[in-house]
């Protein structure tokens, strides 16, 4: 069982990743208080499994536990995400020549709109974007954290980006 010496080792190795853990929990739960509770629970879990930690990528190991703790928590406390549609296509702009309207939208997107658009994405798309764009993780690391194949990471990431672009386009198109 973990003792005081293990706890010190754990704190030195794992606490530096607290921000990453909290960030993921915050984006998955979309609530500050819930994110704190889930992060705390995840750290206690991680501490219990720390003896079994085989070395390797500490941040990915921790985020795997954070993610699972989040989903267990969401499963018990929130209605499931609305069904995800599978029929998106990347719409390439028809205009040839001249300024690309979508580029202008993306260039003008303000912080609040981007934040809201990401927050409103379904969980499986939100998490790959958070891990890739905020945490800067590789496909392999994301695959490990989300327990899916590399192919799934790539297709989710592509769809997540498409959706995010569509919702930014919709949000900013409305305003102008």
């Amino acid at each position: 069982m973990p003792g005081a010496a293990t706890r010190e080792r754990f704190e030195q190795a794992v606490l530096p990743h607290l921000d990453a853990a909290y960030n993921l929990a915050r984006w998955l739960t979309r609530n500050e208080q819930d994110a704190q509770d889930v992060t705390q629970e995840a750290f206690l879990r991680a501490f219990r499994f720390f003896d079994g930690y085989q070395g390797g990528n500490m941040r990915a190991w921790l985020l795997t536990i954070v993610r699972n703790t989040c989903y267990t928590w969401l499963h018990q406390n929130r209605p499931p995400d609305s069904a995800v549609e599978f029929d998106e296509e990347i719409h390439s702009s028809e205009s040839s020549g001249g300024a690309d309207p979508e580029l202008q939208v993306l260039a003008s997107a303000d912080k609040e709109t981007v934040h809201r658009a990401l927050e409103e994405l379904p969980g499986i798309f939100r998490e790959v974007l958070v891990l890739r764009e905020i945490e800067g993780m590789t496909y392999k690391e994301i695959a490990d954290v989300a327990s899916v194949s590399l192919g799934t990471v790539m297709s989710r990431l592509a769809r997540a980006r498409t959706r995010l672009r569509q919702s930014l386009g919709a949000a900013l198109g409305k305003e102008s």
């Binding site: 069982m1 607290l18 921000d19 705390q40 267990t72 018990q76 981007v114 990401l118 764009e133 980006r161």
Partner: protein, 269 residues
């Protein structure tokens, strides 16, 4: 006309995930393919929009303190068997201080006897550590209402649920006809790996069965000494390790384990 490289390779190029030869190929291709170049430009614009929106949340300082104090608090509560080991040491420590050869001999003799007769005085073996983990998981599953990730009495619902969540497919059997109905399943962790937890009910009591793959071979059923009022049994067969834990009485748990073993895969040779 749509370039078939656009969807396949632009994201990988953007994320720096292509190998060297593909990267070079893509760079050459981008100079001639307007569609790929435009798509890359938009992907970069999206990334830039994400980057400038400061989306990363930093953990509040209070959370760090909360976690540290909860880690400290978790140590005595989670190490009950160590506490009893220390009691024994307090009894032996005066002997140690005498520093007589005779005392050493006595101590050595005591140690040998204790080692032989009282497994509880040995340092925590991997089995005991695992037993403590199993017990903790069981108690937490009940306390934190983390009992079920999938609630179903149907083994044909529970078993597929684990597919894609685990890298193995655990045997799932309903024992409703023997008054041990299956109520669902859950993902859990033991020894740092993901395991399947199957939950059965006996009247008002729950039985957690933790399952994970082991190297081929099987071991006989082993009953672990009750801890804090919980009975535990472990066995392995068909390439899986099983740990059953519950507060039902020892006889009920033994019956349950026998029934479950009769249903799961036969002994693998």
């Amino acid at each position: 006309m749509s370039c078939k490289l656009t969807q396949r390779f632009v994201p990988g190029y953007l994320d720096g995930e292509l190998d060297l030869s593909r990267t070079i190929e893509m760079e050459t291709h981008l100079q001639v393919c307007g569609e790929c170049a435009r798509e890359l430009e938009r992907q970069q614009a999206l990334r830039a929009a994400l980057q400038r929106s400061s989306l990363a949340y930093a953990a509040p300082e209070a959370l760090r303190e909360r976690i540290q104090s909860s880690l400290r608090a978790s140590i005595p509560a989670e190490a009950p068997e160590r506490a009893s080991g220390w009691d024994a040491m307090q009894f032996l420590r005066p002997l140690l201080l005498m520093r007589w050869a005779g005392a050493f001999a006595v101590l050595a003799l005591c140690a040998v006897i204790a080692w032989q007769l009282l497994p509880g005085l040995r340092g925590p073996s991997s089995d005991q550590r695992l037993a403590a983990e199993v017990l903790t998981s069981h108690v937490r599953s009940l306390e934190a209402s983390h009992l079920l990730d999938v609630a179903s009495t149907d083994q044909h619902t529970v078993k597929p649920w684990f597919d894609g969540r685990l890298d193995f497919s655990p045997p799932v059997e309903d024992l409703a006809s023997d008054d041990f109905p299956l109520v669902g399943g859950r993902l859990d962790y033991l020894e740092g790996r993901q395991v399947a937890a199957l939950v059965y009910q006996r009247r008002k009591h729950f039985i957690n069965v933790f399952v994970w793959p082991v190297a081929a071979g099987s071991s006989s059923t082993q009953t672990i000494a009750p801890q804090q009022g919980y009975n535990m049994t472990r066995w392995s067969r068909g390439g899986f390790q099983f740990w059953a834990v519950s507060d039902v009485n020892a006889q009920d748990l033994a019956d349950f384990v026998r029934l479950l073993q009769a249903r799961t895969a036969p002994e693998s040779k």
